[in-house]
Amino acid sequence: MADVISYREAVAEGIAREMRRDPTVVCLGEDIGEAGGVFKTTVGLRAEFGSERVWDTPISEQAIVGAAMGAAMTGMRPVAEIMFSDFLACCWDYLANEIPKVRYMTGGQVTVPLVVRTANGGGLGFGAQHSQATENWAFTIPGLKIAAPATPGDVIGMMAAAIRSDDPVVFFEHKALLATKGTPPPPDHVVELGRAAVVREGADVTLVALASMVPLALKAAELLSGEGIEAEVVDLRCLVPLDMSTVLASLGRTSRLVTVEENPYQGGWGGTLVSVVADEGFGLLDAPVRRVTGECVPLPFADALEEEVIPTVEKVVAAVRDLAAY
């Protein structure tokens, strides 16, 4: 194996590792077979595992996720791709009403071990219907686990955990990170769901970020370091389970909190996170909390417009400076 791997290659590698060890893992989705996926995140899977394990589907999001559910209920571990996360809306019934509820409403009789993978978020100028960060849609629903890795190593480790999970997992692959590179993790690398990572240590402020916002927060932290402000950066990695203990422990060291979210302020995961902090960690705070978020507008097309409405390094730096001076 090469000594660097891209985030996009890590997706296929993560799936392939699980398909090799578990014959019940099968993939389905639009263009995922010969074509290797519109984002080339399934390249090589058809060649290695054949058409009986890597299935091209019609453009039928309800059928894709509904069939994955039926297969998961009956002994398989399907990995379903929804091409762009915006299209989750086309199969929302399955994510909101069927998959997360069936275990509960059957009194624990049925388990749904499936993964719905999808390309999430902006940054590539795809316009309003192909650029949303939609992880918050899933965050409102009891019964879905939510993974959103930021690095190729985490893609592989969290894919392993997601596919092995007996619970349904929505796996958000961030489009703006697909070309980023990292070191390939060792065989059998598993990153347990619900474990945040402190990816930079610092004593002055805690930046909590997810997916593409993690490298952005890290860049902001480097700039701030030049000004004498040391930011600790927490990569949440999962929204459910949400690792509040890592966040609260970091706040114990820094006493200041900024969340960095791509999605709009209204209903964003940062709102839940800071409400837990207000509830259980108020005494740890020496300053108000700040949330850097997207604007509440559909994502515009032009780079200059998109930059205006999603978080940037500058916006994060400004929020931290403001808070550090409090």
Binding site: Q62, I64, P100, Y104, G107, S165
Partner: protein, 325 residues
């Protein structure tokens, strides 16, 4: 069907009919909360289809699914306890009338979002094929579901993947209160759609348990042998209104009368007599059915309510509901 098999089917239909009547009465007594969608009148579809299936085949049903749960292995006691919110209910009183499920016997659930389970049935059939088990899956649904997107997506997927799945429409002429004919551009809401997906579409008298058993056996055999999915439209009628205390006054009196005369239990009884089964034997089956249901009502009534702590279990596979670490 052999006489013994038909007699067993008759008794099962009698149990379902009496369980539905009990559910109705218990609802009126305030012992069943929420709502119920009774399937009295539809018994022959569940029982005839079940008689043609293997015990390990998968069944997916709708909120109007008491008959399927009972035909596929749930007992009247488990079902009535579920309706009465008892700890001993089929789904620990977390499902209710609309979600009767008995996974252990392949009754993989009743779904209350119209049409949602058709893709799931396709997926279960896909899984059976991948595992090489020769199981099939059956989705039962109403005529109203034929205008939902998931119906069309499931049919096409099942057809192109040649999945061993049967889609069985229980056409009882009405959605909730609107006649299906008023909102559908073809006369046969299910069967007429089949050619568009390149699969067989058949129509059967859904009140004739023998006819249902025969056609399902044929289509199931075809699916099991790799012939792919089929769409069956079973014509039937619901005896009660759509749900709860709906008196169904929107239905013309002569239509109701005509269908009540075409009752699935009467039909089966007639066939039994034709086959030479003694009337006393049929009466005995009726009496056994009455006893089973009467006892089920008493036992279910006496069962305790669920422990409130159960509300926070069964979200995740570890049994719990924690959303944070």
């Amino acid at each position: 069907m052999e006489p013994a098999e038909l007699l067993a089917a008759y008794e099962q239909m009698a149990v379902i009919r009496r369980t539905e009547k009990a559910a109705h009465d218990l609802f009126l007594q305030g012992l069943v909360k929420g709502t119920t969608h009774l399937a009295a009148g539809h018994e022959a579809i569940a029982v005839g289809a079940s008689a043609a299936l293997r015990p390990d085949d998968y069944v997916f049903a709708t909120y109007r699914g008491h008959h399927h749960a009972l035909a596929r292995g749930a007992t009247p006691q488990e079902c009535l306890a579920e309706l009465m919110s008892r700890a001993t209910g089929l789904c620990k009183a977390k499902g209710g009338s609309m979600h009767l499920t008995k996974a252990a016997t392949g009754m993989l659930g009743s779904y209350a979002i119209v049409g949602a389970h058709l893709p799931m049935a396709a997926g279960a059939a896909w899984s059976a094929r991948l595992r090489g088990t020769e199981q099939i899956a059956v989705a039962f649904f109403g005529d109203g579901a034929t205008n939902i997107g998931a119906f069309h997506e499931a049919l096409n997927l099942a057809a192109v993947w040649k999945l061993p799945v049967l889609f069985v429409c229980e056409n009882n002429l009405y959605m909730e209160y609107t006649p299906i004919a008023d909102v559908t551009a073809v006369p046969r809401p299910a069967a007429d759609r089949a050619p568009g997906y390149g699969i067989p579409g058949e129509v059967v008298d859904g009140n004739d348990v023998v006819a249902v058993q025969e056609v399902v056996a044929r289509l199931a055999g075809r699916a099991r042998a790799g012939g792919g999915p089929a769409l069956l439209e079973a014509e039937t009628y619901r005896h009660f209104g759509h749900s709860r205390a709906d008196p169904a006054t929107y239905r013309p009196a002569e239509e109701v009368e005509r269908w009540l005369k075409h009752d699935p239990l009467d039909l089966a009884r007639g066939r039994l007599v034709e086959l030479g089964v003694a009337p006393e034997t049929i009466t005995e089956a009726d009496e056994r059915a009455s006893t089973v249901v009467r006892e089920a009502v008493e036992v279910a009534k006496a069962a305790p309510p669920p422990d409130p702590r159960e509300a926070l279990t069964d979200v995740w596979a570890d049994g719990g509901a924690a959303w944070r670490t």
